[in-house]
Symmetry: D2
Subunit: 143 residues, 4 copies
């Protein structure tokens, strides 16, 4: 019988002075940056190589966002240690949903969800980016 | 009969090299930063003084976010000029919803929504932040 | 007789809330970011195409820094309009020196100098970056 | 006989995707940000409380920069672990010089120097910032 518990990873970070704004709390957009870093750490923990290597091997340049959302529950400030727990909530055919929870100790600071795709460069126009079906080996490695 | 068209402002920005990531497109969290800047520009256009001045006059330190969400529709890169159109979609009792649309010419790049509150510092613990009812003069100035 | 006045460009920017730190002034590293943006604007004003285009045409991926230095003379804060004046102070064989002055009205806020090179990717290891002699057409276009 | 070895601290950081620019290497201004964070970590390691607490206790709001300089010796990219070693090189009457070295393993990536002051808010104009003589207890705690 398979477990219903999704695989997750933890990204640890100490908030820097320059992450905070004139209200002396974390500028909210930094949570989106840290969720992104934590998302990449999740895939690293699952054994997925860097996008530099996947680009050389298969053309895959990364996992651009289609949608991002976060709730901000409690303020935090510099010098504080936070943890971000990240997991894949849903695998769709061409997109997947990541969930992130940022905590300082037991206090939940922010919760986020991202819809992402895996992308390659368009063959005709390298400036364009095209979503590909979720590679089966990634899904298998991360489940 | 009053018009149903909400007041809006336009924030213009040229994307910088350092706003882009190794995929050579805008790093998505920058849109949240620019939406925030555009939100402040909206209030400036409505005649609301800086938070430095409101803090001195009334204790109000700014408009922290409770929730933020964005859809990313088309990639953009450095050297490109974008416009962000911002407006207040809904005024609630203690919170309000801002809507932002980022465009490069006629192409919509990203659309966002933010739920914000106006905040003062807690009298006992200055590190805590407390939401206040939407000040009537702000709502009047911005409608 | 030719003028000794170097060609210069002006980059205009309004300081954002999120550019400022808990001391409520611009976080100093942002000046380095803005100097970089202004450096690129200088080359754009001289007619040099984006690095995306030079990479396709000649392999040149940009102008990485070898050294950067700035003096911070007066604090600035959000909502203030600044101008950065940028010019090439010296062209060497393989490097060049840019000078940047950030002003708010007549007040000099910061002055910086950058030593940069023009770079291509190493043919063997694309992760390595190699400085090339200053291209004559760039020097001619920018003098 | 006193030791000539200055006290130093180490700040560890894994480079994030969003710290890198379209040339796929760390955007240089991030080193200045990390040096700043490492500078604060140095003082934390010496037992100096956060600027929030020093502001309440003595009015001191932080240690703004007067000058910053860095040399960039080797590129780095995301997923790489770096260490920044920070120390005070010189204590002057009203300013001090910090030195930072960023390394990935044995490879020196960047070296920086900052001239900083300790500052309080001006009593008449709270937007102005005034340098104070180096507090003796800080110098003693950090030597």
């Amino acid at each position: 019988m398979s477990s219903a518990v999704a695989r997750s990873s933890i990204y640890r970070y100490r908030i820097a002075f320059s992450d905070c704004d004139p209200a002396q709390i974390v500028f909210f957009a930094n949570y989106f940056k840290w969720f992104d870093t934590s998302a990449r750490e999740f895939f690293t923990a699952c054994g997925i190589p860097s996008w530099r290597e996947t680009e050389k091997a298969t053309g895959m340049i990364g996992m651009p966002l289609v949608d991002a959302q976060a709730k901000f529950l409690s303020p935090a400030t510099y010098g504080e240690d936070i943890e971000i727990e990240s997991s894949v909530e849903t695998w769709n055919t061409k997109s997947f949903v990541m969930r992130h929870v940022a905590r300082r100790g037991d206090t939940v600071l922010a919760e986020g969800r991202e819809v992402r795709v895996f992308a390659v460069r368009d063959k005709v126009d390298a400036q364009r980016i095209v979503a590909i079906p979720i590679p089966e080996y990634i899904r298998a490695a991360c489940s």
